[in-house]
Amino acid sequence: MNELQVYLFVALILFCLGLTGVLQRRSLIAMLISVELMLNAASLNFMAFNRFLTPEPAVGQIVTLFIIGTAAAEAAIGLSIILAVFRRYQSIDIERARELKG
């Protein structure tokens, strides 16, 4: 039960859920939420490896801390981009922002 594989499996499911969300939601905010899920999956993995495998327990914690910080930055930037997109298109539907169409 309380072993590495379980944590990895949970993290994997979280990641896949997040991925599904990113790929199929049309709302930008929902995509952002899904990305947060994927990030959490990653930090869970780090913590799990840290707990069971590494010689030094501090490393994984610090990396996870780093991920949390990055997530915060990402959320800030992401939200402001969403705001900008909303102003531009009067919508947060990702399928409306197609200016890069070839």
Binding site: M1, V6, L12, L53, A76
Partner: protein, 188 residues
């Protein structure tokens, strides 16, 4: 079993084995996490998604405790739930048309994304089962917050500085991006 568990879970009668309770709680937390995640992804209302996310984040924080790091669990709750989720909520609240909008799903898209996710799931699953994980021979068991704090300011000072820097840049960037759009708008 870890003595830390005793702190969180109060004393129980002899009949119920401590391990059982811990184990049950563990699976419960996993369940809560996954349920939160599912609702964060599949529910249609944005607000419900956020709430699902918050639940999932709490679940992950719980798993962190099982992984011996209550410091990170606290950080998780503090930063993720307290800052990020709240800011998302604020963003939605402050510009209400955004939150009202609710585009319809496309079924092909859902199926396609689920397919890719399942493929990735299968791939990583086989990797997890196939890989023989081996713990390091010499492992220190110093899990205290003090150590983490010391290391963060000595050995991993660069990481610390870097994340500070990233945050500063992010804040400035957010202000610039959000502010510029406003300026353009006011000019119009």
């Amino acid at each position: 079993m870890e003595p830390l568990m005793a702190v969180i879970i109060p004393t129980l009668p002899e009949l119920i084995k401590f391990e059982w309770v811990a184990q049950a709680a563990f699976y419960f937390i996993i369940g809560v996490t996954l349920a939160g995640a599912v609702s964060a992804v599949f529910l249609r209302r944005i607000i419900h998604n956020i709430l699902g996310l918050i639940v999932a984040l709490f679940g992950v924080a719980g798993l962190f405790i099982y992984l011996n790091s209550e410091f990170l669990a606290l950080m998780q709750i503090l930063i993720y739930v307290g800052a990020i989720c709240i800011s998302i909520v604020f963003a939605i609240m402050l510009s209400d048309p955004m939150y009202k909008e609710d585009p319809r799903r496309r079924l092909t898209k859902v199926f396609a994304s689920v397919l890719v996710s399942l493929l990735i799931l299968a791939g990583f699953l086989s990797m997890i089962t196939k890989t023989p994980f081996e713990a390091a021979a010499q492992r220190s068991d110093d899990w205290t917050v003090t150590t983490v704090g010391n290391l963060l300011l000595t050995r991993y000072a660069l990481v610390f500085e870097l994340i500070s820097f990233v945050l500063v840049v992010a804040i400035i960037g957010a202000i610039v991006i959000a502010g510029q759009g406003r300026k353009q708008r006011s000019l119009k």
